[in-house]
Structures are given as C-alpha cells and as structure tokens.
C-alpha cells in the first residue's frame, strides 16, 4: 500500500482513510461502502487481495469495529480494512461472503459472540453457543454472574 494506490481508492471511495498500522497498513471505510470496497480490493488487478486470513470485531463500548485482514497471495502484500459500527444495539454490516467464501464462518462467529448482523449472509446462525443463549459473550458489557468472576 502506497500513496499512489491509496489515491486510486480515495478517488473511488471518498470516505476511505489510510494509516500506517503497527504490522500492516490500515484503511478505514464507512460501513455503507464496506462491501463495494472489499469487492474492488478483490477484483481490481492492482490490488487483488484474494485471501481473507482473519476477520473479527472489537467492542469499544460506544461502537464496534469490524476488522478484515487481507492478503494478496501473489505479491504477499497484506492490508487491514476496518469499519466502525456506531449503532451498537442494532449493529449491521454488509456480508462479504460473496467476495471471500471463508467470511461466511467468520461472520457467523462475530454474530454469535458480538451480535453484529450481516445483511446478505446465507445462513446467519450461532456457531458455538446454543440457539437459545441470551446475550453475546464477547461484548464488554456482557454479564454472567455464574461463570464470570469479577476481580
């Protein structure tokens, strides 16, 4: 990721911001533009990020961040795509399942443990916990008086 490549993105997606991360370059994007940006990063030959090697969410109490780690398997370039979900109670983002099939299960995990809904996901169910489980355990305000001991 360099200045030149970033300008290509900026032209197409005005909301994109670029920062040098600790390990990989990071770009931040509005949630509404997430799927189209991801589609562009995969399809465009100048980027061609064909391998999604990690996807997760972070709970910052006021909002969630979705984090996508991408790799181009030819050039071995990596990049991190982030988006902020401001509405914590009805968090919703577009599914990238159509772009990287592996996202199907990462998204199910994020739905299970954070309660983020992904529109366009083919089979959004809990993946680890039972279907009748209350709450989403990886949220910071999750309360479980029996199993979680506060120190």
């Amino acid at each position: 990721m360099n200045e030149e490549k970033f300008n290509i993105l900026k032209e197409k997606f005005p909301s994109v911001e670029w920062t040098e991360g600790k390990n990989y370059p990071e770009i931040t994007v509005e949630t509404a533009e997430l799927t189209s940006l991801c589609g562009f990063l995969k399809e465009d030959s100048r980027f061609a990020f064909d391998y999604l090697f990690n996807m997760t969410a972070v709970d910052w109490l006021e909002y969630f961040t979705l984090v996508y780690h991408l790799e181009n398997t030819d050039t071995k370039d990596c990049i991190v795509v982030k988006t902020k979900l401001a509405d914590r109670e009805n968090a919703e983002a577009g599914s990238v399942y159509g772009i990287w099939p592996s996202a199907e299960f990462y998204e199910r995990e994020v739905y299970d443990l954070f309660g983020v809904k992904f529109t366009g996901h083919p089979d959004l169910r809990r993946i680890f916990l039972e279907d009748d489980w209350h709450g989403h355990p990886l949220r910071k305000d999750y309360i479980d008086e029996i199993n979680i001991i506060e120190r």
């Binding site: 991360g21 600790k22 390990n23 990989y24 064909d50 391998y51 999604l52 090697f53 990690n54 997760t56 972070v58 709970d59 984090v67 780690h69 398997t73 071995k76 991190v80 990287w100 099939p101 592996s102 199907e104 299960f105 995990e109 443990l113 809990r126 993946i127 680890f128 916990l129 039972e130 355990p137 990886l138 979680i148 120190r151």
Partner: protein
C-alpha cells in the same frame, strides 16, 4: 408387492439425515456432522461445532500475557509449542524485545519436533480411520520418543507452556541435544517404514486417490492453509512467506502438490516430516550459548495499538491478533486458528461422494476440535 414393502424398498432414494458425532471415533473429538444422504451418497453436510467451546478469548481478556500462554496450549494441543510461540512473538514484537539467538534456535527445534509428533499421530489415526490398525501402533511408538524428549526437558508430554514472552520458561535439559540427534537418526530409519506400510497399499490408495478434490482457487477462497492447502498448490507456508525465529537461517523446501485429493494431503504431510528433520539437523548442532530468556519487566504492558502475528502450526496458519489499550491485560485477543477454516470446506469436499469417503476426507484434513471451538 404391497404398498408398505414398496415404501421400504424405495426409501433409499429419498433424502434422509443422519448425525455423525458428537461422539464418533473419526471426528477425533466432539464434533457433529449433520449428513444428508440419498442412498449412500452425501448430498449435503452441515458441521456443528461448539461442543468444546471454552471461551478462551473471553478468558484472555482477564489474564496477563504470561498467563495467556497456558490457555493457548489448550487450543491445538498437538502443536502446543507453536501456539505458545505465536503469542510470545506477538508480545515481543509489540514490546520490541530482541530474544537471544539461543532462544530462537531452541524454539524452532521444538516447533519442528512438535510438528513431527503431530504428523505422526495424524498418520497413525488416519490409517486407523481407513481400517489399517497397524499404523496406530507404529505411529505412536515413534511419537513416544519425542514425548520422552519433551518430558525430560519440560516435565510434561502434551501441554508444555514452555515458550513464554521473552524466551523460554527455563533452559532445556543437558541431554536435549543428544537425545534429539538420537531421535533424528532413529526416525530417518523408521519413516520409510511408513511408506512401506501404508502409502503403497492398494486399498489405501483406492480409498484416498481422487477423493475430496480441492482446487487451488477454493483453497485460497476458503482459507485452507497448512498441508491441506499446500496439497492443492496454495503456497501458504508462513515459515517461508514471513520467516520468524530461526527459519531465516535454515534451508528447507515448501512441499507442494497439485492434485488436491486426500492422497496428496497425505503425501505432503509425509514429506513435511522429512523437511522438519532437515531443519532440526541444521540447527541442533549449532545452538549458541547464552541466556534462555531476554530481560523482561515483571509486568508486561503492551503499548496501545493492534498487533498481529502469523505462525505455521502443524495444521496451518495460526494468527494472533492483540488489541492493547496499554493495560497489562489485552483489550481483545483473537486467535485465527487453522482448523476453524479447514473444517468448513467439508461440505464442498464431501458432497457428491459416498459416506465412506467422508471418513477419508475428514481424516486427511487432520482436524483438532478444541482448536476450532477455542
């Protein structure tokens, strides 16, 4: 022919569902496959995981970094050293600590010994899954030698928690070098036996060749890494791509195959054992003298930010993603475990095949269930 008899006779043409697991010897743990069948042809397969979900990521949010090491052992328990190393490297990178050369060498030797032990157990169990009971005894006999080396140095055989942020828990046993060399010498003679026993077997070949073919495109799209990905031609070895520890100092090959079937996955693993032995041989005589740990503070506080570390376990790419707010606990930690991704290709590989092939496919993917559920 009455209607009732007709119904029973033609029932096999209807689709029906059976549960494989959660307690089934071939799933190697508590995992359930919901298998939809027409006759004996699998039409759809839905994996259900979470039976051994312990919430390791949530627990880690209340633990200090040295404490987290002990939880990572319990994910992929057959690659315990490598899991420990992943978290240690991530913490060291964040703190910008340079570990002594000795530590790098020992870590790499341990990781490769661990990889061999893991592949031996996989080979043993894979043969047994397909009805070749003898392999189990041969595999475990040789794995025992490695576990003995581990036991002598760390006091434990499976969950070592030996590699810690900054270095090692303590120095290795004085016999470590000698016994490792003895093992390599021993195993170089024994590994050809594996080929003689199983690889050339006609029944085994018929049950694995052309079964569960995975294309390179699918391997990348679904994130299938490790030997399973490399058997499809996906060059995904983190040791080569982003070398860490002592891997930059050694010569070894990344074994690739392009067939992508169960037999290719089998062969890649067998060849990887040869490569691992090569790596150990290059390192074991040259372990530098020095400290077994770098100078670390009593309480580790990572600077604010996000860190990611990738390592190659016996089953694929393990990623550790740490979000720190400057506290002594991580704000969020996520383990990108290889088996999680590798499991969900099962539907694609098994659909359209016979139910007996399902065992060959799941065996060749080498799943470890606690690594999926975390």
């Amino acid at each position: 022919m009455t209607e009732e008899v007709k119904e029973i006779m033609f029932r096999e043409h209807e689709e029906y569902m059976i549960n494989m697991g959660p307690q089934h010897p071939s799933t190697h743990g508590v995992l359930r496959f919901e298998v939809y069948l027409k006759g004996e042809v699998v039409t759809k397969l839905v994996p259900h995981c979470g039976y051994i979900h312990r919430g390791i990521e949530k627990m880690c949010e209340k633990d200090t970094y040295p404490q987290i090491i002990h939880l990572t052992d319990r994910m992929d328990y057959l690659s315990a050293h490598i899991n420990n190393e992943a978290v240690s490297l991530c913490v060291e990178n964040a703190l910008q600590v340079e570990v002594p050369e000795r530590v790098k060498y020992i870590r790499t030797i341990l990781a490769e010994l661990n990889r061999i032990a893991s592949h031996q157990l996989w080979w043993a169990a894979f043969g047994m899954d397909l009805g070749a009971l003898t392999t189990f005894f041969y595999g475990l006999r040789d794995r025992e030698k490695i576990l003995d080396i581990f036991e002598e140095s760390f006091g434990s055989r499976l969950l070592h928690s030996f590699i810690t942020p900054g270095g090692l828990m303590h120095d290795v046993h004085p016999n470590f070098q000698k016994r490792t060399k003895e093992f390599i010498k021993y195993f170089r003679k024994k590994l050809p036996e594996y080929d003689q026993l199983l690889t050339g077997n006609v029944i085994f070949q018929n049950r694995t060749k052309g079964i569960g073919i995975l294309s390179k495109e699918d391997a990348i799209a679904y994130g299938i890494t490790g030997p399973s990905g490399r058997a499809s031609g996906f060059s995904c070895d983190i040791r080569k791509k982003y070398p860490y520890s002592a891997y930059p100092f050694v010569q070894f090959e990344e074994k690739l195959s392009h067939e992508g079937d169960s037999f290719a996955r089998y062969q890649v693993r067998i060849e990887e054992m040869w490569e691992s032995m090569k790596i150990i041989e290059q390192l074991v005589d040259n372990i530098p003298e020095g400290d077994y740990t770098a100078k670390m503070k009593a309480v580790l506080r990572l600077p604010e930010g996000e860190y990611y570390q990738r390592v190659e376990t016996a089953r694929g790419e393990l990623g550790v993603y740490i979000v720190s707010t400057g506290e002594k606990f991580p704000y969020r930690i996520k383990f990108r475990t290889p088996n999680f991704s590798n499991l969900f290709i099962m539907n694609k590989l098994a659909s359209g095949g016979k139910i007996a092939d399902l065992i060959a496919i799941s065996g060749s993917l080498d799943l470890v269930i606690p690594d999926i559920d975390r």
